[in-house]
Amino acid sequence: MKRTLALTTAFGLVAMPAFADVNLLSWGGAYGNSHVEAYAKPFEAESGIKVNIADADNPATPIKAMVEAGNVTSDIASVEYADAVRLCDEGLLELIDESVLAPADDGTEAADDFIEGAITDCFVGTDVYSMIIAYDDSKFPDAKPATPADFFDLEKFPGKRTMRKGAKFNLELALMADGVPAAEVYDLLETPEGVDQAFAKLDEIKSSVIWWEAGAQPPQLLADGEVTMAYAFNGRIFDAAQGEGKPFNIIWDGQIYEMEGWVIPKGAPNKEEALEFVTFSTASAQQARAAEFISYGPPRRSAAALVGNIEGTEEPMGPHLPTTEENMSNALGSNLDFWVDHDAELNERFNSWLAN
């Protein structure tokens, strides 16, 4: 049984060469590119260990399949924090001892240098991204929207909105727009009244929302003029604004940030090399370097000052990162425990709400 599952899984995955030294499972796209440029290439140059990169839609899904089939072909993978928590609790990941992490240049221990929650038993954060409100500057010549409440104000800021098709992020945003302080959002969502309040707030704009499924959709919808405001991942908006010169502005007030980072699948064939790769890639210099390729912030405090210009330009990357101090003034850290607990339940309710 195991053998056949292993065989069938092998068919479904990208075949990786047998002589590989570290097999990295990443996301592809601009984000995957930052892994190649900031981590894989310098690591190969320094250690002589070759890094083979395969891409997946969401690396957490193949990890589950690989470990359950007992045929692990990846040594390290980039996954979202929520998936890391889940996979770790299910025993599908190797533990990562935090002693492998390099201290900051000034000697600060890694444990103190990383932001809270960035290091868990099985996970080391590599970057922080966030859900932000973006708007098309040309559509609001006079007053500019500036808060989550403005996103729900169809009179003052007319036009359609686009939001992610799912409960996560939207419920939090709705409560913040309803005046709930960031620190109380999840406590309130734990209660049925809080969930009702969030859905009631969403009701206000339901008929004006186009729901997106793929991360590439919101900048496209903004660019096409289909919507005037979008609730989207900051990296996507940044790419459209920076790369294609679109007049998109980001509202950092009420941003909800999350982390991605490394995990090592249980039974990884080259665990030692994978750990070396973790040490190298989570050092401050490399974290700062990665942030120059994509507007995801480094989770190490000591890395913030090292972030230089946007790759290929003379413009500093700092103001575009979720982790920069002035962008963090009213920020909400996504509560993964809450979402792992309530994901299915709230998404069923959300879909039912959508359909009616």
Binding site: F11, G91, A344
Partner: protein, 430 residues
């Protein structure tokens, strides 16, 4: 037995007195025939063996394994053996006694040490949302140490351990074979006493999505028939040179990537899109009344009808090509109006192609995923989008498997119905 080295004897057995036929070398004919056919069959089997193996390994086995998850989930009993044992020995309705609490504490400790507590919590969380963290956080605490009396100790860690719903869910989960995922897939759940009830109205979603999926698939099948039938007829009756040209027009989109076609529809149909721009330019609608034709059910129907159209046209075309035009001419010469000739003579002959096309389109539409995900908005989602959500977001593969099994089952039932009503022998795929 006949001695075949004796030529005289050999000639006599060609027509034995009993009338049994034998070959020239004296073997019974039936046996020889069976032997030579067996060899041919073996060869044929060896020839298809690679394909058979391929299908088994890549298709039957994985689907079977996936479907097995819909009713078999050993996450709880495998990691919580003592409390599962207690549930087996004590019928529903028994209040948890000291033995139960001790078993629970022992299991929690062992499971936390083995780092499988997440599996256990995830399993219970399917039935009682919010309990996953109850298990993982208690796991972290018991790793630091737990002393008897266990009931008080566990309730001290989290009072939710006293919740009868948690105990009821654990009892349900303690058996690896369960129908609960199927219940959830039809918006049902088990009450505390084990009876089956509907979930709250605001949580109901799957039955509605199943109905919508089948209704939209039917509608799309009907639309492809209405649009495809005249096209197929034109293709089949035009002179070859013109029909080949038209055929290319049918096939070109067919060969184009699904995503490209879906995105093209977005460009055409969105509010700031081509179609709306033209309508505004023509003055049919005002600039502020642009039509919402995508990100809703309309978008799903339009895009899917277009994408599935070739699957209707091609089988219809191949059948229509073979229809002899003299039948219709004969009908006309016998006095039938053109409508009667079409209805009584031409149309019945296209049924095998229509049946094949309709079946193809319907079955493809039922499982459609990416197009409704991209253009469906809130009202154009299908059941496959929920299957995808459980596969990739919530990682509840048992639930995904249950939904998929129901979908597969209902398609098979419809296929059986189709066979009873129309007959599968009438299918003609080309």
């Amino acid at each position: 037995m006949v001695n075949s080295s004796d030529p005289q004897a050999a000639t006599t057995v060609v027509t034995p007195p009993e009338g049994r036929l034998t070959t020239a070398d004296g073997k019974p004919l039936a046996w020889a025939l069976a032997r030579s056919q067996a060899r041919a069959k073996r060869r044929a089997f060896l020839l298809v063996l690679p394909l058979l193996g391929f299908i088994l390994i890549t298709f039957v086995v994985p689907i079977g394994q996936m479907l097995q998850r819909s009713f078999y989930n050993a996450g709880f009993p495998a990691n919580m053996p003592e409390i599962s044992q207690w549930f087996a020995e004590n019928p529903r309705g028994t209040d948890p006694d000291d033995a139960a609490w001790t078993a629970l504490a022992n299991d929690l400790l062992a499971s936390a040490e083995a780092r499988t507590i997440g599996v256990v919590g995830t399993r219970i969380n399917y039935d009682v949302p919010g309990t996953r963290s109850l298990f993982t956080s208690t796991g972290r605490k018991v790793r630091r140490g737990i002393e008897p009396p266990y009931r008080e100790a566990l309730l001290e860690m989290d009072e939710d351990w006293g919740d009868p719903r948690v105990w009821s869910a654990m009892r349900e989960a303690s058996k690896p074979v369960t129908a609960n995922f199927y219940l959830a897939a039809v918006d049902r759940t088990r009450a505390d006493d084990g009876s089956i009830e509907q979930v709250e109205p605001r949580q109901r979603i799957y039955v509605m999505l199943f109905m919508r999926t089948f209704w939209l698939s039917l509608l799309i099948t009907g639309l492809t028939f209405l649009l495809g039938f005249p096209v197929a007829h034109l293709l089949a009756t035009l002179p070859m040179r013109k029909s080949n040209l038209l055929m290319i027009l049918v096939l070109l989109p067919f060969w184009t990537s699904l995503l490209v076609r879906t995105t093209s529809w977005m460009v055409l149909l969105q509010q700031q899109g081509v179609v709306n721009d033209i309508l505004v330019w023509l003055g049919v609608i005002g600039g502020s009344q642009r039509l919402q034709m995508i990100y809703n059910q309309t978008g799903t129907i339009i895009a899917m009808t277009h994408i599935l159209l070739p699957f209707m046209i091609l089988p219809l075309y191949s059948v229509m090509r073979t229809i002899n035009p003299s039948y219709v001419r004969a009908a006309r010469s016998l006095g039938a109006t053109s409508w009667t000739a079409f209805r009584r003579i031409y149309f019945p002959q296209t049924l095998p192609g229509l049946g094949a096309g309709a079946l193809l389109v319907f079955i493809l539409a039922v499982g459609y995923y990416i197009t409704p995900a991209l253009v469906g908005g809130s009202s154009g989602q299908l059941i496959s989008n929920m299957i995808a959500m459980h596969m990739t977001d919530t990682l509840n593969w048992s639930m995904a498997a249950a939904l998929a099994a129901l979908l597969l089952g209902s398609v098979l039932i419809l296929y059986w119905l189709y066979d009873r009503l129309v007959g599968v022998d009438n299918l003609k795929l080309g």
